[in-house]
């Protein structure tokens, strides 16, 4: 039988995997951007200890390979008494790992913000969290959106590694179909196609936000 026909027969498994990939990567992206803001704020803060601690976290994550990181979250944490399902371990690993990358790129955008914009905020009586939330973050977001999109694509690809901890995402589904029926190419080409659709959607989203941002630059 034609490989693609077999894949089509098993489309439900493939779509279920795709749905998992979408859910995992989008929630990981959203959560890591939100928490990345806090880490970026810590990186930019004036204290002695806080920025170093945050920097240590960011550089550690940048040095650790995601596959092994996910492995340790899933298999290592239980020995420390914390047991999570495969799905929540996967999400936790993706999130913890990408908070660091998001924080680093938000920091770059933050540093690139004209100091006068922030100063104007201070001069008008903004301070602390209000200053960050109302004056700093919106333009930081607008300028960081392309990089956030880029990193979200990386998250999508990292999510493929979660197959090792049994998360039934897209690569998992494709592998499962290929080894059951011996149709490697049809199943991988189908997977790439679905990945590509997801990445294109992300790129289009970035372009749309970029459009909004353009009016304000």
């Amino acid at each position: 039988m034609n490989g693609f026909a077999i894949v089509w027969e098993n489309r439900q498994e493939l779509f279920a995997g795709f749905l998992n990939t979408v859910l995992l990567s989008i929630s990981a992206a959203v959560i890591s951007v939100i928490l990345g803001v806090f880490v970026a704020a810590a990186l930019m803060s004036r204290g002695r200890i806080l920025p170093r601690l945050a920097g240590l976290y960011v550089d550690t994550m940048r040095c650790v390979p995601f596959l092994l990181f996910a492995y340790f979250i899933y298999f290592g944490l239980p020995s420390a008494g914390l047991r999570l399902t495969n799905w929540s371990s996967g999400l936790l690993a993706l999130t913890l790992y990408n908070i660091a990358y998001m924080a680093e790129l938000l920091r770059a955008a933050w540093k690139g913000l004209p100091s006068e914009t922030i100063e104007a905020g201070r001069a008008f009586g903004f301070h602390g969290a209000g200053l960050i939330r109302r004056i700093i973050l919106p333009p930081v977001f607008f300028s960081a959106v392309p990089m956030i999109g880029n990193q979200t694509i990386q998250i999508v690809k990292d999510s493929a590694f979660l197959t090792i901890i049994t998360v039934a995402e897209l690569t998992h589904a494709a592998t499962s179909i290929q080894t059951t029926y011996f149709v490697p190419f049809a199943s991988f080409v189908s997977a790439i196609f679905l990945y590509w659709i997801l990445c294109m959607t992300i790129e289009l989203g970035v372009a749309a936000v970029g459009h909004v941002a353009h009016a304000r630059r």
Binding site: R83, I177, T180, F185
Partner: protein, 248 residues
């Protein structure tokens, strides 16, 4: 002409998995295990050299179906689905699918106790297909069926999860499970069969009749002079002497 091509090239390209203990695995950087030693045995006086590529299971299938490798010299379980896309040489082992639990798990005393339990199996494997059939049987017998089947890319992770307690049982061939349980007798214990016996054989892409024929001959020789059974004894602790001559 497939065999002729191999002879003309002077090399038989085979692919062998690297983490399926005791059938095939890597020790000190060298491939070893039952299939590897059997391959060396049957090709000792062959009219070609053997080029053995060691790689993960996920890479072997594409390699064989595209003809990059002439044969998968690795433990492939023979199933009906696979027979439609692959040809098999004569059987090299017999396998029955079993479950394995943690030592002292009193909740699972027999195969029917798997009702309502969580089990781990390799994704896309023949064992998975067999176990799904077994699950249907459990339900047909009035049980609830298993609670969940967790699919792993490879078995080390499945054993790890069993040890941690995320799953109640792992499903695999008896040979594999026995090897694990021997190695870690304080952790794991092999339970009962959950399938009828099936054969394990080396696979080629469709259209390699002559190569299959050649291998069948060599394998039969190894059975006749008892060398194959010696290897089975060495690696599995048992022998399979009533296997057919060829896979039909």
């Amino acid at each position: 002409n497939d065999l002729d091509a191999v002879k003309a090239a002077g090399t038989l390209n085979v692919a062998t998995e690297d983490d399926f203990h005791p059938f095939e695995f890597v020790e000190d950087g060298k491939p070893t295990g039952y299939d590897t030693e059997l391959l060396a045995l049957v090709t000792a006086d062959a009219p070609f050299k053997v080029n053995q590529q060691i790689m993960p299971w996920a890479g072997i299938l594409p390699g064989v179906t595209t003809g990059k490798y002439d044969m998968a010299v690795t433990a492939v379980l023979v199933t009906d689905e696979r027979k439609t896309t692959l040809d098999f040489a004569g059987p090299v082992a017999e396998s029955t699918t079993y479950y394995m639990t943690k030592v002292g798990n009193d909740a699972i005393k027999s195969a029917s106790d798997l009702n309502g339990k969580t089990v781990g199996i390799q994704a896309g494997s023949a064992m998975l297909t067999q176990f799904k059939a077994f699950d249907e049987k459990l339900k047909a017998d009035g049980g609830t069926g298993v609670k969940e089947i967790v699919e792993y890319q490879s078995y080390p992770e499945a054993y790890q999860d069993l040890a941690i307690g995320r799953t109640d049982a792992v499903i695999n061939t008896q040979i594999n499970l026995q090897a694990v349980a021997n190695e870690k007798s304080d952790v794991f214990a092999v339970g009962e069969a959950v399938s009828d016996p099936v054969y394990i054989a080396w696979a080629t892409a469709k259209g390699n009749e002559k190569l299959v024929e050649f291998m069948n001959g060599k394998l039969m020789e190894a059975r006749k002079d008892g060398k194959m059974y010696e290897l089975q004894k060495k690696w599995f602790g048992t022998t399979f002497e009533s296997m057919p001559e060829a896979i039909k």
